[in-house]
Symmetry: C2
Subunit: 760 residues, 2 copies
């Protein structure tokens, strides 16, 4: 098929390349308006405390200060997604260190800082819940005393500090364990990690005199922010225009309202545009990081390596507010099942409140945590059964037409090919090539998030096409992918498409740049719009050329039939003369994925849509003294369905692995007594380019039934398997099994000491 | 019909009211970007000269100066509408005093002025053509020696300094004069006048690194500016984004590229955003004013007051470049015919080059000049025949089903009703109530400009609707009118519509805010979009409510059938969940107006589409010593087809009369030796609020067959009749017939002196 394709399947330069490589692209953090003020946020200095005094009088009187606001200045509403537990500012008490208490707008950053320092706030400390165990302990203090009164979608199972419990029950797990020859139980733990986007969260807000506010934000979800701002500001969404100038990385950390509401409130009070942008310290103490977790797994297998049953639980530390927690707990259970045929399952995910920053979504939310446990245990079991880990996996993986854990029928399952190609590329046959060196393998599956997308397209006077989408380009080149689908269908070049994106007033609704869905869903909407546009082009050209519309073909920027041709530029001119120009629209909604409703409870995501499959393999050495890991080679084989733009998919894979290796080896937001110990980019150790190995990407293509040209979501998966692949390789290299993230050199070195002690 | 209407036909507040009444609306002249430079233009100081030296070295080296450009820095192209005779900068010679020679961008206005002063330019004077007579004289110097080589649409009739001659020939005019009992010949003259928009022409340009330029301009025609900039910059239009932030009045003066190209060139060269805004001096010496004119009329009538033939010629002084001249000459012939049934016509319009600023379009281009002649002569003839001027008109006006001058069949002709109502309101029976006091009457017809419009609409999450139009709101409230049409059709309130307008990238093509077409054409496109949107709403709601789509009705923001209801907000939410939100589009093109092609030559506008008809009546006194005119009452009866928003139509009428009285009584750009003598708002005498009388508006409604709800264009007509109505009233009051505009107190006083001398 790809042979007949001119645009899709080709590694063409992304539409947003020039601005990005030259450094001239405007991001939200760069966006400026004349007369704009600087907004800053005062944050709680205790993890759990009552506010006994809050006086802004002195701050408001300082020179250059134009607005100071607290909970008293904003509508008294709780907002949130499925569970409305958040407030713009802490009102009576603070629930984490970093929670907003007040905000100021001033002429300069220095004046704003001075105003923050002049706000008089007194706290009375309350007992804090500092980790999952404490939150779940009987008699634990409630983070939200009034949790039962909060508005929540009915699907959630809540109780006390648990803001959702999601469950999958399939078959009879007890009978499954009885059928097993051996049963393995393990416990895993992962830390809280930040998305590490280059650009801080930032927003500029400006009001007009009609009471309409425009917010320029680097959000991934402008329409979601529009609706949430409507709740927070208590205004109709149609009076809130959210525009995305550019996004310097999101990875799920910019899904929810971050600083937009502060900018909006401050701009309204000051009567001036206001920009609020976060500092690194704010990012690492009061953003929406990936939940830390505890996972317990119990797996039963036969002697010949067939899994008969699995029971698993994951507890996600979602911080002081639910954020994405309830949904992530739901997704986690599907990841806990793994890409395996297991007849008996009992899987639970819990989102748990603690007195920490509220966690959110991070590229493949729950994926690395749950997959780390699942795939580490696969290797442990394989070793125990004296089976090759690849062979053990091949005996259990899902294949075309198999059922997923909730009963969905799986199509386009390229997992076996991924495993075979990844292991072949890493040289799996020799997986312990020498002392201190080993190879590791991990595989997994992931969803392509559905949701709806609309696009509106029009022909420019020169025959090129403007693509109007509500989806923001967050750095993935997914909009380029969608534009390639449009260009292919219209017989034009990718460079003939100009994109107008992500403005809640002027662009159609889009579910947003999240969940690996953009190229998939916007691409499909483009197919629909192209069909509409072609129909109009043919009707117009047919009249002009004196032929039947059905006889026409569209290729090479011309409409042609019977030896007569008309360029798209001519068609465009004609359309302006004869009827408002050529405009068309297309919408897409992912069809539902049928599943067995009896198997699930508390589930926001009960099945994986157009799932992708992937295998990672790594070859590494461990320094026997320091425990330091050196990665020699990293291979990803990923079933992408169809590679719309191979280079950018490889970019997603390379970036996802780099980010995954960060959380695998070095990254963690370290809390002690409710305080973050490493709230800066020196002590929060993200990998640098020197730390990232070369990554070999192998694109496997088992088409999705729904995606454009068979494409599946590709952005999140590369982030999932690095922890398990590395843990398995470290175990192969050293015999030391690390069951908590990050796998620091210190942990390995201590393990080596223990091993030597045990061996002595 | 209006009884069943909830939104159209009502005087609802305009959608852009709050920003405008509070002074917070952003116009292009206010629009600013961080780091923006100030751009200024060096202009010719001679009307016709060869440039012998042009050196910018010294200017470019001055502090704060970031760019200096001349013809040598820009593509060597001639651009223009139907006739491409313009260049961005004068190259070898200058053709009017004020023609751009160079432009600079600097950090401050002062630095820019200093740079202009430091540009070294030497001219060698050439013989200048200073008026129409000189331009048409045998052996006159050619303004454009190479006129024959210029690209022009083939329809134009050009020769030397005449850049178009348009002609209407109907019947046999010589035989018509033979059939007449009396033949009258007169000559009239009008001055050059400026549109007087409050906001100067202004544009901000900014380039991105992909080679795309965004221009924020107060143009009336963003898509026209996009295409013209593409010619001037020699770039594809799809790389040129024109956005209209707001327009402080246009009146036809902001149709064509004014300062946008200077901003774009300077921004490219300086690498910074640049704003160029004109001064009052630039406006009055180098803008696109209304052409001065000479009109000769020869009219034959029978004794009982039937017009048997008319020969007429209008010469329009279009300045050094054609601008709108060729088209205006074409329209002028239709106005010369008048709203009368005349069997034999020979009418010619000439657009003539002179060494003055290039003239353009001004609210009803050619209307006041030609109507002043026609309607003055009607009164002269009536007096000569001893007929009441009303009665004389009633014997000759067109009525329903009559033919227009080029053979079009006229529908919705409310002229008789206009004449009767206007004269009744002014107290016509007593038209010379006392010494020095008199009443005047004038009537006319005008077109509703066609062209195409597209709109794209979508439902917001709260059930309100976003209207996306390529037409700019230039102050007329026409977009409000179109939005009323949309709201009516969708069963929502006007306040439920938010408008996104006039961005060549994000909004559909629109022929632009010109020719009284906006509410008419955009309103019709809204009807089409509403039909599309309703179909989708019904399909979605039918599925949800379990009823047939055909059974549903849409009213009061709800879809309902069989006692079941769904709010539009629910439909909106449903649509976001199930398919990309609800988006729809609609396009409109005015159907052609059939006419007799054999009657016309050189015609860009051979017929009036959905013509409007109007009568003005004025009651005034003339001071017998000073000649000063005091207007007691001014009445306009205008056939608007259907009044979508009566208050704003009255606003158009009041404003049009005020503007028309300015050119009638006091306004003129006075040239002497090629130099404007009054290039400032002290000496160029626009009326103030104290000068403008109360205007009584009578809305007559004979529906157009094409307009939304029967509406016709309403914006331009009120500007047409004031000169003739006042001239006729002055004659009634004093016996003095003024045949040139403006009708200054001085001219009247001199006329009174002459009359007294003649009477003595």
């Amino acid at each position: 098929m790809a042979d007949r394709m001119r645009v899709v399947g080709k590694s063409l330069a992304r539409v947003d390349a020039p601005g990005k490589v030259s450094g001239t692209a405007i991001y939200a953090a760069d966006f400026a308006l004349p007369g704009m003020l600087c907004g800053k946020v005062l944050r709680s200095t205790l993890p759990h405390a009552r506010i006994t005094r809050l006086d802004v009088t002195r701050a408001a009187a300082l020179p250059g200060v134009r607005a100071v606001i607290t909970a008293a200045d904003v509508p008294d509403v709780r907002y949130g997604g499925g569970l409305k537990d958040e407030t713009a500012f802490a009102k009576d008490k603070v629930r984490y260190m970093g929670q907003p208490v007040a905000a100021v707008a001033a002429a300069t950053p220095e004046a704003a800082e001075a105003a923050l320092a002049a706000i008089d706030v007194v706290y009375e400390p309350l007992p804090a819940v500092l980790d999952l165990e404490a939150a779940l302990a009987p008699g634990a203090p409630l983070i939200h005393e009034a949790w039962e009164s909060y508005t929540a979608i009915p699907i959630l199972h809540r109780e006390g500090n648990v803001c959702n419990r999601a469950r999958i029950v399939a078959g009879d797990v007890e009978r499954g364990f009885e059928e097993a020859d051996r049963v393995f139980e393990h416990r895993f733990r992962t830390g809280m990690v930040h998305q590490g986007y280059t650009e801080p969260r930032a927003a500029v807000a400006s009001w007009d005199s009609s009471g309409q506010v425009t917010v320029w934000s680097n959000t991934q979800l402008p329409f979601e922010v529009q609706n949430t701002l409507a709740e927070i500001l208590q205004m109709p969404p149609s009076k809130i225009r959210v525009v995305v100038p550019g996004v310097g990385g999101g990875f799920g950390g910019k899904l929810r309202v971050g600083v937009e509401h502060f900018a909006a409130f401050l701009a309204r009070k000051s009567g001036r545009p206001v920009r609020v942008a976060t500092t690194s310290e704010e990012e690492l103490t009061a953003a929406y990081p990936r939940q830390g977790s505890i996972v317990e797994l119990k797996t039963g297998v036969t002697k010949d390596g067939r899994i008969t049953a699995k029971a698993g639980r994951i507890w996600l530390d979602t911080g002081a507010f639910a954020g994405s927690g309830p949904g992530v707990a739901s997704v986690a259970t599907l990841v806990l099942a793994g890409p395996y045929k297991i007849p008996n399952l009992y899987l639970e995910g819990f989102a748990v409140y603690t007195n920490k920053t509220n966690c959110g979504s991070f590229r493949a939310p729950s994926g690395p945590q749950a997959n780390f446990a699942v795939e580490s245990q696969m290797d442990i079991i394989a070793d125990a059964l004296d089976l090759d880990p690849l062979e053990f996996r091949l005996r259990n993986i899902v294949r075309e037409g198999d059922e997923g854990p909730t009963g969905q029928v799986l199509n386009g399952v390229g997992l076996e090919e991924c495993l075979l190609k990844a292991t072949a590329a890493i040289g799996w046959k020799d997986r312990r090539p020498g002392p201190g060196r080993g190879k590791g393998l991990a595989c997994g599956w992931w969803t392509t998030t559905g949701g709806s997308s609309g696009v509106y397209v029009k022909i420019n006077p020169d025959g090129t096409v403007a693509l109007n989408t509500g989806a923001a380009e967050i750095g993935t080149a997914a909009i380029t992918g969608a534009a390639q689908v449009l260009a292919e269908e219209l017989g034009i070049d990718l460079t003939d498409i100009s994109v107008v994106a992500a403005d809640t007033f002027s662009t159609p609704f889009d579910f947003g740049a999240q969940g690996s869905r953009t190229a998939f869903a916007v691409g499909n909407a483009c197919l629909a719009a192209a069909a509409d546009l072609k129909r109009q082009i043919f009707a117009l050209a047919a009249g002009q050329l004196g032929v039947e519309p059905d006889a026409l073909t569209l290729a090479d920027k011309h409409v042609a039939a019977d030896g007569k041709r008309l360029s798209l530029a001519d068609v465009a001119r004609l359309s302006q003369q004869t009827g408002g120009g050529l405009i068309a629209h297309g919408t897409f909604i992912a069809p539902p994925t049928p599943y067995d409703t009896k198997r699930v409870e508390g589930h926001v995501y009960p099945a994986f849509h157009s799932p992708s499959f992937h295998a990672h393999a790594v070859d590494l050495s461990v320094d026997p003294q320091t425990g330091e890991v050196t990665i020699h080679k990293y291979v990803v084989a990923q079933d992408v369905g169809f590679a719309i733009n191979p280079t950018y998919i490889e970019g997603q894979i390379e970036g996802g692995v780099a980010q995954g290796l960060g959380q695998t080896l070095s990254e963690e937001i370290i809390y002690e007594g409710g305080r973050v110990l490493n709230p800066n980019l020196t002590d929060y150790k993200m990998p640098t380019t020197l730390d990232v190995p070369r990554v070999e990407s192998i694109l496997v293509q088992h088409p999705s039934l729904v995606g454009p040209h068979g494409a599946k979501g590709v952005g999140e998966p590369p982030n999932i398997e690095p922890p398990a692949a590395v843990a398995n390789a470290v175990a192969a290299a050293t015999g030391v099994r690390i069951t908590s993230l990050p796998i620091t050199a210190e942990k390995i070195a201590l393990g080596l000491v223990d091993a030597r002690a045990g061996g002595a």
